[in-house]
Each structure stands twice: as structure tokens, then as C-alpha cells.
């Protein structure tokens, strides 16, 4: 069965090869140049650019967005099969043997979705940050890093080969590192930043090995090249490539077992959490899997592992989200969980690729909106993030409350909000996979929907309703318009994006030439989506019983064993500590000891060896009876002796 599936899918998936760029795509490098220029000016310009630097950052992001829209319009004007455009900007690595890597840009249906998401949501968050970071003396540096992030992220999604993708991939890792550690003068952010980079590097090992394996097998690292030949490789090799790509995706997208860095990453300023650690960068793993569809199509095993990782993480993140009192960490757990849904969808293969992207785009809106709302609250509450010290903020911050509420309804999937249109089809598709695995994956996704409703209702109730639990120093009122207007736009997206993308199969049809066409779904009000709605309402009701009906205690109750575990991120850090960090530190100490102790012993043995071996050498020489050789040797020894005698 799998063989025939592969046979039918392979030609379809490789049907779309790219054509030389035309029209606006001729200058697609501008997408990188705008934010790249911004970053350069802001980071090299120093204090001179303090006054206007943030506006330059906003302008460069908006310029990239404007150019992205122009490209999108150009693509819409082309026939569906001719929407893959390729532009070779310059030769990055010239041909060495078969290995040749240009900086090539690929504008197609998949990459343009990401370009619009990154630059669109990115620009909104730039604007928001002008207000949010207004009091920070380092605001210019912040915008420099943000622009650097936009440029790297765009490179990641528009690269036409895996190595250039990898450059963007590590570039966003650097931007993430710099932004998590933005307040470097405090003790916690630098540690969190380093942790994020190192966890990502573990994933990067997987991605780089995947690229090497592709080159060793096919002699190419370009998408078109690899996809044109992948079907001829042995199944085991294809699965290996798929799993290595998945390892990379797990690092970047905070999926099990490389999830633990994301919660710590909340040390970064909130706009960063919204843009990088919710809407865009952390979804790069999903992009990688979907972009590599022709590889995963040929390996049911690799797909199954992707789906299992997604299903496990969606539950894992949701459970953590239930126990966190820090509003940003609760949302971070939720991000892990939602990306788990996308991974699950991507692991379902051609049935799910487009669904993964749809949920990714919708999630970009509502999760960015939720984070910006949380940022507005934090901003007004003197940087307090403990929800047990919030309460009753709805009346003080009406716009924030309403926009956050839209995001809330979207993420739990109440029709007609976004999540309903993008999450339920994933649950549907998981069940439709059939067999034991389909039932298990589907059930996990269904339960996850209930838990999501519980923890998000908890966040909502603890923050905006009930008694005021904040102290007298806080005087929360609505954030300035420069912050609320992006929130309003994202709220509109939370309401409408899902329906817009999914109704009339808009996105599915648009993406079909790149990722294949899924079988027709059976409408949005299937038995499963009704079951999902029931669970959502049940989850919300339980949350209301605990956090709505009763007062929320300011200090956290001890809670059950599960709560305790969830508060500790389900022992993710404890596991890393005992499995990796402690043995690693032992090994380091042992190696240093060995190296230091070895020194003196080695020197002695070297000295001994010199005395012994020169004798042997002399014997060898006399064998050839070349007297000059011996004289040169004596000369050399004299030089040594002279050097050693000269006082230093």
C-alpha cells in the first residue's frame, strides 16, 4: 500500500520545478536587502542613530512587506503550474567537484506564504515595539537585532537550496540568541540565550548531516536537484534523511526532545516572544518538513515519527501550559503545543501539509496577538508576569481585553474564529489516517483541544476577571495606540484568517502544486469537530469552576503530583541535567585533568625519546654512508644546545 502511495505521489510532488524569475521576482534579493540594510545601519551606526533608528527598523520591515505583496500579486497573475520562480543572486560557493551552492532565491506558493507572514506580522510587531521599548535606552540595538532576524528568516524561507536555508536557519538562531539575551546585564537572560542556542545546535547537527547525506547520495543540495532524484535512493536512506531533518526541526520548533529552551526564552522582551518564539522562527521546523515534502512522501516511517513527535509535544506543551503562573510561560507552553499540531499535520503527509501551513498562518496571527496582549499587561503592571498577581484587568484595559479575547477564542477553536477552521481539520485528518496509529494520534489531538481550552480559559480568567490581586504600585490603564493598533489588526486576523484560508479551499488549492492535493474533507461540522467542540466547552467549564467561580489565591497551592511536574516543565530540564549536563561536566573535568597531568609526563617522555631516537637515527644514517648527513644532524643538535643555553 505504501509503495503505491509513493508511486502516485512522487511524480506529482516533483512536477513543479522552478522557472527563471521574471517581473518583480527579478529583484527578489531586495527582500533580504531591506532588513539587512536596516540591521547594518543600526548596529554599526551606534548612538548616532538612536533618535530615528527604530523608525528605520520599522520602515525596512514595511518595505520588505510591500515588496512581498508585489511578489504575491505577480504569482497570482501566473498560471498555477508556473508559480515557482528561481533567482540566482550570486555564487556563494563555486563548484568544488560537484559541490556548488549559489545564493539562490525561490519564490513559490509556499515561500510567499511565509514571506507575507514574516514581514506582515513582523512589521506589526516592529510598530508595537516602538511603544513597548520606548523607555529602553538600547531601543536602537533592539531594532537592529529585529531587522537582522527578519533578514535571516526571509533567507530561510526563500532559499532555493538546503545550504542557504541552513544559513538562514542559523541566522535566526543568532538573532534569537541576541534577543533573548537582550537585557544581558541581568543574570538570567544570557543563560537562557545560551541554552536556546545550544539546544538549537543539537538540532542543527541533524540538519547539517541531512544536507551531507543528500550531497553524498545525489551530488546536489538544491531543492530541485534533490527532489528530482530522491525517488531513486534506497528507502532506508530516504528515512534517514527524513529523520535527520526532523531532528533539525525539533531543535528550531521546540519539539520533544529538544523543547526545553523555549520556556526559558521568555526572558527576552515580549515583542521578541511574539515574533520569534511564537509567530515565525519556531515554526521554521514545520516549514522544513513541508518544504521537504518530496522526501517525506517517500518515507512513511519518517512521516510517522514526525506525527508522533507532534502528537506527544502537543500534549506535553498543553500540560505545561496548565500549570504555569507566569503568563508568558503559559503562552510558551501553548506555542509548543500548537506547533505540535502543525507537526502532526505535516506528519500525515500530503493530506496534512496544507493543513499544517494553514494552522501555522492562523497561529501566527492569534499567538502574536496573545503575546502582544500579555506584553501590554506586563508593561502596565511594572513588569509583573505572575497571573496570580493580576485579576480584574478587563475594565482597566478594555482594548487589550477584547483583542486578547479574540486570540483566546481563536486558539481554543470556537467558530467562526481562526482555530476552529485550522485545528479541527488536523484532528479530522489524524483520525482519517486510519488504523491504530490514526486512532491514537487523533485521540491525542482531540484531548489536546480540551486541555488547550482549559489552560487558555485559565489564563483569561486569572488575568482579566475576578478580584484585583495587584498591589498599590500598579496603575494599569490602556497601552498607547502605537501598541494597541497592531493588537487590533492581529485580533481581526484571529477572527478572519482561518475562515479566509480554509473556506473554498483557498489555501489548499493555492499550495497544491508544491505540496500535493489532499482528498476532499468532509466539511467543517463533522462528528469529530463536534466532539472537539464538546471537549473545548468541557475544558473551559472546568477552568471556570476552578479559577472563575472561586477567588484565585495569590500564592500557588501545592497542587497534585501532576501539577508539580508540569510546573517543572515535566522534568525536561531535570532530564537534560542528569543525562547530559552532569556527565558532560564530569567528562570535561576528567579531560582537563588528563591533559594537564599528561603534560609533564609527555615532556619527560619526549626528552627521553630524543636521546634514544637520535642514536637510532645515526645508525640509519651510517647505513647510507653520507657523511654530510651526520654533519647536518650534529649541526642541528648544536643549534638546539645553543638555543637552550642562551638565557631567556
Amino acid at each position: 500500500m505504501t509503495g503505491s502511495l509513493a508511486a502516485t505521489l512522487a511524480p506529482q510532488a516533483t512536477a513543479l520545478t522552478t522557472l527563471p524569475a521574471t517581473g518583480a521576482a527579478h529583484a527578489a534579493w531586495l527582500l533580504l536587502a531591506f532588513p539587512g540594510f536596516g540591521a547594518l545601519v543600526l548596529l554599526l551606526g551606534g548612538k548616532r542613530t538612536n533618535k530615528w533608528g527604530h523608525w528605520l527598523g520599522v520602515a525596512m520591515s514595511l518595505a520588505a512587506f510591500g515588496y512581498g505583496v508585489a511578489l504575491f500579486v505577480q504569482l497570482l497573475g501566473l498560471p498555477a503550474s508556473k508559480r515557482g520562480l528561481d533567482l540566482r543572486v550570486f555564487t556563494w560557493i563555486p563548484a568544488i567537484g560537484r559541490f556548488a551552492v549559489p545564493l539562490g532565491i525561490r519564490i513559490d506558493q509556499l515561500s510567499i506564504c511565509f514571506v507575507l507572514l514574516i514581514t506582515g506580522v513582523g512589521s506589526l510587531i516592529h510598530i508595537y515595539a516602538v511603544g513597548y521599548m520606548a523607555a529602553d535606552p538600547d531601543r536602537r540595538r533592539f531594532f537592529g537585532y529585529l531587522n537582522l532576524f527578519i533578514a535571516s528568516m526571509l533567507l530561510l524561507v526563500i532559499a532555493d537550496n538546503y545550504l542557504a536555508l541552513y544559513a538562514g536557519w542559523e541566522g535566526v538562531g543568532l538573532a534569537s540568541y541576541l534577543l533573548i539575551g537582550f537585557w544581558f546585564y541581568n543574570p538570567a537572560p544570557p543563560v537562557a540565550a545560551k541554552k536556546a542556542f545550544i539546544a538549537n545546535r543539537v538540532g542543527d547537527v541533524g540538519l547539517s548531516l541531512a544536507i551531507m547525506l543528500m550531497f553524498a547520495q545525489f551530488g546536489s543540495v538544491s531543492f530541485d536537484g534533490v527532489f528530482s532524484q530522491v525517488h531513486s535512493a534506497r528507502p532506508g536512506t530516504i528515512t534517514a534523511i527524513g529523520l535527520l531533518l526532523l531532528l533539525g526541526a525539533c531543535g528550531k520548533s521546540a519539539q520533544l526532545p529538544l523543547q526545553s529552551w523555549l520556556l526559558d526564552a521568555m526572558e527576552g522582551p515580549t515583542p521578541v516572544s511574539a515574533l520569534i518564539h511564537a509567530a515565525t522562527m519556531v515554526t521554521a521546523g514545520v516549514y522544513l518538513i513541508v518544504r521537504s515534502a518530496p522526501i517525506f512522501n517517500l518515507s512513511p516511517d519518517a512521516r510517522l515519527v514526525v506525527a508522533i513527535v507532534g502528537a506527544a509535544t502537543l500534549l506535553f506543551g498543553a500540560v505545561i501550559g496548565c500549570a504555569k503562573d507566569d503568563i508568558k510561560k503559559a503562552l510558551a507552553g501553548s506555542t509548543m503545543s500548537q506547533i505540535g499540531y502543525m507537526m502532526l499535520a505535516a506528519g500525515l503527509g500530503p493530506v496534512g501539509y496544507a493543513l499544517a501551513i494553514a494552522h501555522l498562518l492562523a497561529h501566527g496571527f492569534f499567538k502574536a496577538g496573545l503575546f502582544l496582549g500579555a506584553g501590554a499587561v506586563k508593561h502596565e503592571m511594572n513588569d509583573e508576569v505572575d497571573m496570580r498577581r493580576f485579576g480584574g484587568l478587563a475594565s482597566a484595559m478594555k482594548i487589550t481585553f477584547v483583542t486578547f479575547g479574540f486570540g483566546y477564542l481563536a486558539i481554543i477553536g470556537i467558530p467562526p474564529f481562526s482555530g476552529f477552521f485550522t485545528k479541527d481539520p488536523i484532528i479530522d485528518a489524524a483520525f482519517a489516517k486510519g488504523g491504530t496509529s490514526g486512532a491514537i494520534l487523533g485521540t491525542a489531538a482531540l484531548i489536546g483541544a480540551g486541555i488547550t481550552a482549559f489552560y487558555m480559559t485559565r489564563v483569561m480568567l486569572m488575568t482579566f476577571t475576578g478580584k484585583r490581586r495587584w498591589d498599590d504600585h500598579a496603575h494599569p490603564h490602556e497601552a498607547p495606540p502605537i501598541m494597541t493598533s497592531p493588537m487590533v489588526i492581529l485580533a481581526i486576523g484571529s477572527l478572519g484568517a482561518g475562515a479566509f484560508l480554509m473556506l473554498a479551499n483557498r489555501l489548499i488549492d493555492f499550495l497544491a502544486p508544491v505540496v500535493g492535493t489532499p482528498p476532499l474533507s468532509h466539511g467543517f461540522f463533522s462528528l469529530i469537530s463536534i466532539a472537539s467542540l464538546v471537549l473545548v466547552i468541557a475544558g473551559a467549564a472546568v477552568a471556570w469552576l476552578i479559577y472563575g467561580r472561586r477567588d484565585v489565591p495569590v500564592t500557588a497551592p501545592r497542587g497534585s503530583l501532576v501539577t508539580g511536574a508540569a510546573r517543572k516543565d515535566l522534568y525536561g530540564d531535570a532530564l537534560n541535567e542528569s543525562l547530559l549536563m552532569r556527565p558532560g561536566s564530569w567528562m570535561t573535568r576528567l579531560s582537563v585533568y588528563f591533559d594537564n597531568q599528561g603534560i609533564d609526563g609527555l615532556v619527560r617522555s619526549v626528552a627521553a625519546a630524543m636521546g634514544g631516537s637520535s642514536g637510532r637515527i645515526r645508525k640509519v644514517q651510517t647505513g647510507f654512508v653520507r657523511s654530510y648527513a651526520l654533519s647536518m644532524l650534529i649541526g642541528a643538535v648544536l643549534v638546539i644546545g645553543a638555543l637552550l643555553l642562551v638565557k631567556l
Partner: protein
Amino acid sequence: MSNFPWLTVAGVVPLVGAIAIGLTPGQSAPGGPADRRARDLLVKRIALVFSVITLAITVAMAVQFKIGGPRFQFTQTYQWIPQFGVHYAVGVDGIALVLILMTTVLMPVVVLASWNDAEGAGNPVGSAPPRRSIKTYFILMLVLETMMIGVFAATDVFLFYVFFEAMLIPMYFMIGSYGVGQRQYAAVKFLLYSLLGGLLMLVAVIALYVYSTSGGRPGTFLFLPLTHLVLSATVQKWLFLGFFVAFAIKAPLWPFHTWLPDAATAAQPGAAVVLVGVLDKVGTFGMIRYCLDLFPSAAHYFTPLIIALSVIGVLYGAIVAIGQADLKRLVAYTSVSHMGLITLGIFAMTSQGQVGATLYMVNHGFATGALFLIAGFMISRRRSAQIADYGGVQKVAPVLAGLFLIAGLAGLALPGLSTFVSEFLVLVGTFTRYEAAAILATAGIILAAIYILWMYQRTMTGPVKPEVASMPDLKARELWAVGPLIALIIVLGVYPKPIIDVINPAVRATLVDAHSANPVPPHPVNNRFVVTGLSSATSSSTQNGSNP
């Protein structure tokens, strides 16, 4: 200009500079402190001017290098000791050319950065004062430059050996007389290790000459004729080992590395840059030039062992680096790791591996050079090399911290910076032949992230320590010294093509001599995809590097 003796002139100019410095009035000349200061300044300026002139000459030479021309260019051959077939013969292939350029770029940078090092003013508290004069320090440096150019330019094995050994002398004094901490111990250790290797090589060099006389031919030390020498398998193995051990100590390859951390820690930062940036490369250069070309079958015989040692070096150097408490020592151990990658690339015997390894030699010189120099700037301010004595430096010296971060990121081979291209080429070139070795070495990129970022975290971030609160940011001189290196790290990361184009033909010639060809992928893609996509289909056939 085609017959202009470029290499000889480039080699002689620093020597002339050294003589000029020697002619300036010394410490004993009459005059007060102000006169002495003026004399010191003159010495430094002469050193800077002559190193810049040398750089200009080598750049002028490089632009005339013909890609696709003869293997060795700018050649000159004169008889030196006719009785033994010794020649003064120089010439460069692409590999030697880029290494000479790296050397001549680094020298003015090092002179500028070491402006006050010879006084010992910035040494860690408790260090002994320098034993010799400022004048001597810069003379040693310029003499060393002559020898470094000579060692890369020599195309006569004996001439190469002479430079190879002579290089030790100035470096020995630079460490032993001007260094910090246990400088004498470190200098003697450096000398003993190097001489042990040198003696083994000397035996092999002489034996090579003896074998070249077989069959009644006049013996020779010239490199090109020697590549055609037919040697029995056993002889090849012994001679290979003679050369290889010398180079492995120089590089240094694990487990011959233990002299390096001591020497680099004891040396002044500028001297450490020359030591790790250039002298180490003489070892890896020797491997790719002499071990592979002269003894191909022995090289193949020993390859599994060398690959294993390289991989151990990559991981071991990185793990030990993580555990270091001293800034310079940490950087020295990262070099052990990186040199392991370079030898890995050389002995993978693929064009990607060897081009990557050669490119890595250049990039590592710049990246580690920048790291050592900026660490030196910090040490001269805080008067301590201990990582634990720093904290929060980014707050008080943001420019210093920013450049240190870029140099550090080059150390962990971040894409966009020069080291990434070379590191990935080495790994991919290794992977096509030795998967397991490449997988293990790739795991090293995690360790690299740990040692760099942890060092950065401990020194630059967190609350500002009171001892560093008044630390000034980089001065103009320091910025002029290290700025060009940072710029090169970035430019060569984005556009390494000019250097790769120069290296490519030289590596192809080496692989031919070494009887090696790239493995052919089992499922090669249609040629039009080799260089990505349709738009480039036409240019892929014109690329000059298509080595099957």
C-alpha cells in the same frame, strides 16, 4: 613584470625592515626617557611600515596569479649547493599563495596590536618583565615574517626544511623572553617538541635525496621532480612518517598538541596569533603539499589512523576547551579542535575536504587571530587572563564585546562568517568517504557553541563586576588592528569565491598526485541541477571545478 622576483622581494622586505630597526640607536644611546620613548616609537613605525609594504607586494603579486595557469607561478630556481642538488627554488601554487597572503595580512595587524606588548605594560599582575628590548621584539617579528613567507614559497624540499627549522628561533625568543607566566618552560617545551619533529623530518629529507640519486641520476631536492620519484611501499611509509610526525607536532594533531596551550598562553597575544595563526598552518600545509604529493600510497595507508586522530582531536580539543579557566588557554584548545578539522579535510582525499581544509587554514588564521587579539586587549586592561575575573564587560565596552562576539561566532562557524564555508566543506567532503568520522566531527559544532557562548556569557554579560567597571572601550589603534580581520571574516563568509577559485586547481593537482578522486554519488542528479535550478543550467558547464 612577469619575471619580477615577487616572492624573493616579498621575503626580503621584512628582513630589510629588521636590519633598519637594528640600525636605530639602542637602549644604551644617550638621552632621557622622552628620547627613549621616541626611539621605541620609531622602531614600531618601521616595523609597521615594512609589514604594510610586504602586504602590498604580496597583494600586487596575487592579482597577477593566473587561475588555470601553471601549477607553480612566480617561480625562480637558482643552484645553491650544487654538490647535493640543493636549490634556492621558490614558487607558489594556489594553496601557498593564499597562505602567504594570510601571513602578510596578519603581520601588520599583529604589529599594530602588539604596540605595547614588548614593554610588558599590560601583562597580568605578577608577571616577570621582558628580558630583552623592544627593538629586539620587532626585529624578531620581521625576521619571522621572512621565514614564514619562505616556508610557504619554497619549492625545494631542503630549502623548505631550512625555513621550517629556522622559524623556531625567533618564536622561541618571542615566547621565552617576552611572555607571561611560565614562559621559559613553555618556550623550551615548544622548542623540544618542534625539534624532535624537525629531526625526524631531516632524516626523511636526506633519505629522499639519496633515493633521488638511484639509478645514477643526479640527486635533487626540487619538489616537482621528487613527485615523480618511484619509491617502494616500505620506504614511502617510513619517509611519510618522518615528514608527517614533524607536521603533526607543528599543526598540532592530537596527541602531539600539549605544547600548544602552554606556548600560546605564555606568549604575548600578538605572538600567539603568529604561533597559532601561521606557524600551525605550516604543519597542515606540509601535510597537503609534501605528505600527499611525495608519498601517495603511504598517505592512503595511514589515512584511517590520521582520520581517527583528527576526529579525536576535534572532540577532545573542544571538550578540554570548555573546561578552561584562562582566556588564551581556552582559545588555544579551540585551535586544537579546529586543526583536527583541517587534517580531517586533508586526509578525506576529496576536493571538498581539501579545498575546505585550505580555506580553513586561512579563515582560522583570521578568526583565531581576532579572538586572541581581543582577548589580549581585555587582558591588558584588567591585568588578568582569568575568565572568572571578568563579567558584564559588554555594558562598559560594547564595541570590544561586539567584535569579540563576532570573532567568537566565527569560532563556532556561524554561517555568514568565513569559517562556516570551510568547516562545512571539510565535513561534507569527509562525509562522502568516511561517514562515521564526519558524523562524530559534526557533533563538535555543539561543543563549539558551548565553549564560545559560555566564555562570552561569563566575561561579557551579567552584572558589571566592580573591577571592570572602569574598563575603557577599544582605542583607535586597537580598532584599526582588529577591524580588518573582522571585516575579512564577514566578507569571506559571504563571498569566498575568489579564494576558492585560487585554491581549486591546486587541490586538483594534489589529488591527481595522491591518486585520489571524489566518490561518485550513487544517484547523481541530472547535470542541470548540479548548480541549482534551471536559471543556472548554462553556467554549470562552464564551472571549472567539475572533478568527477
